[in-house]
Amino acid sequence: MDFTLDKKHEMARQLFREFALNEVKPMAQEIDETEVFPRENVEKMMKYGFMGIPIPKEYGGQGCDVLTYIMCVEELSKVCGTTGVIVSAHTSLCCDPILTYGTEEQKQKFLVPLASGKKLGAFALTEPGAGTDAQGAQCKATEDGDSWVLNGSKCFITNGKEADIYIIFAVTDIVEDAKGRKSKKFSAFIVEKGTPGFTFGTKEKKMGIRASSTYELIFQDCRIPKENILGPRGKGFGIAMHTLDGGRIGIAAQALGIGEGSIDATIEFVKERKQFGRPIAAFQNTAFQLADMKARMDAAKYLVYKAACTKDQYMVDHKTSYSIEAAEAKLFAAEAAMAVTTKAVQLHGGYGYTREYDVERMMRDAKITEIYEGTSEVQRLVISGAMLK
């Protein structure tokens, strides 16, 4: 067992760190305040290959591994949680299912422009009446000649209005079991922005990750080509769950980065801030709190990297499952990030409660990692479900 990164991973981390500090950090506070999507930085990330890190080169990606991609989300999130989730939603939730379930034609048509940084992706599962309970979904797709016709809406969609290509889940069939109980069968579809009948609803005003363009998507007799179904008809729920297993590693990395970023900011602050004639770093309470914060984020880091490496094994051998590793990483990293950013604000005192200091934003950004792509409660269900099988 070796816990050290090899040289190419170290260099990749250095690249992400440098990019995050030079390009992303100077914008973080402003985009939080204005809630404006950081288009310019996203275009830079597209140019430098950050939007297709774990995708094979033959499909326009960088041909690196999941661990490298995870470190990218981590380093970006250390300075800006919004930027971290933009990359994560694009890569894990849009590129990944097309790579896993797409036909060769779909990969050429959609994955190549996504992974090579020409287009931005999004993923839409959640609906106003259906979050954790997927059976509550209303959005449906009906067959009509050589098209599918979508009707319904999706909400809380990251990269909502900014994306070009969307993975949409819709009910295609209702099946009845032997006892006459009905259940919905979902299918996944690839929908392009600009398709007639596909419009945007309200933009969410959020507590954190405020510039990630979270929108409602509306489909009214939206007609898409039949070949845009992703994977087999009726298998959409499995596709969504499998995609979210991967997405959770991305969000775990985002949480990891936010927590670590708040520690970096706090170390800087406690060395400067003086009370009773000495820097507050000199007080044992400060030192002990910092030690707890670091130990907790390091524990999170090993779980997140373990999940990423397990997904890398899956990429080689599809018999490997990374569902439990992903759930544990997300559960632990998200709760660690929330606790650690809260302590970071506390150590900043009154200043930490003002928007002048980064930790205030980081604490707001951390909260969402306990909620989206499966709440912490859902992660506990996944983990315990496997334990008690």
Partner: protein
């Protein structure tokens, strides 16, 4: 077209400079980076490659750990990398360095050689022009813009208050300023590819066109008598005067010190 870019690994001064007790730089404890002027030279070469098509080879003389910097250059887009490393080459001043690097460059195909203006550790700005001398090539130093036109380069050479536009036929050598451009970032895939590539490693014995009298510490005419840390100046003297009185005050002070 073949472009050779000479680069150097230098201590990163951003994290503060550390010294050994004898006054020399404590290189081991400082992070190492690609010298900023050299990086701009590499970026210029990569832009020429994109526009005109070229093979870009990076060359460095240094410790085996300079391999990291060469991989960085490959990850940015250089095609090949050469590391010249040998204990016998250690302790070289600008003369020994330029003799050695020139001997290495001679083994390569080149139309254009680009070096940085100067390294942030030694700050001599001598190695680039000396390499040109060893190779009997024209040199254009302090380049703030480079254009390739047919078989020539047109370079804006920076002066304090103006620039000269100089045209030279290739082969020639250009020394680049960090203001020349904004070097690109590496790409993640470029990093992975860079570690799959071979870096050519040459020792002293691979450089046949090189006299032993011109290498390493023994071949270095420069001897450092003493290195010392900067002595802190006092707090100075603050005065508040109107402009006319200030001028008088300053002139008197300068006269007192026999400056004017």
């Amino acid at each position: 077209m073949n472009i050779v870019v000479c680069i150097k690994q230098v201590p990163d001064t951003k994290g503060g400079v550390k010294f050994n007790p004898d006054g020399t730089l404590d290189r081991a404890s400082m992070l190492a980076i690609m010298n900023p002027d050299d990086k701009a030279g590499l970026e210029a070469a990569l832009r020429i490659k994109e526009q005109n098509g070229a093979k870009v080879t990076v060359v460095t003389m240094g410790l085996p750990k300079a391999d990291d910097m060469l991989r960085e250059a490959l990850a940015m887009g250089a095609d090949e990398a050469v590391l010249v490393t040998d204990r016998r080459l250690g302790g070289a001043d600008t003369w020994a360095t330029s003799s050695t690097v020139a001997a290495a460059v001679k083994k390569l195909d080149y139309d254009l050689i680009i070096t940085g203006r100067q390294a942030i550790d030694g700050d001599t700005a001598q190695v680039g022009p000396q390499i040109a001398e060893h190779l009997a090539l024209p040199v254009i130093s302090y380049a703030e813009d480079i254009k390739v036109e047919g078989n020539s380069v047109i370079v804006k050479r920076q002066y304090e208050d103006r620039y000269h536009e100089v045209k030279a036929q290739m082969p020639c050598l250009i020394t680049a300023l960090s203001e020349l451009n904004e070097p690109r970032y590496m790409t993640p895939g470029g990093i992975f590819d860079a570690y799959d590539k071979e870096v050519t490693v040459w020792g002293r014995d691979d450089l046949t066109d090189l006299d032993d009298a011109n290498i390493g510490l023994a071949g270095s005419p420069t001897k450092i008598a003493k290195a010392s840390d900067k002595v802190r100046k006092g707090a100075g003297e603050k005065v508040t005067l109107d402009p006319k009185e200030s001028v008088e005050y300053i002139v008197n002070k300068l006269k007192e010190k026999h400056v004017i």
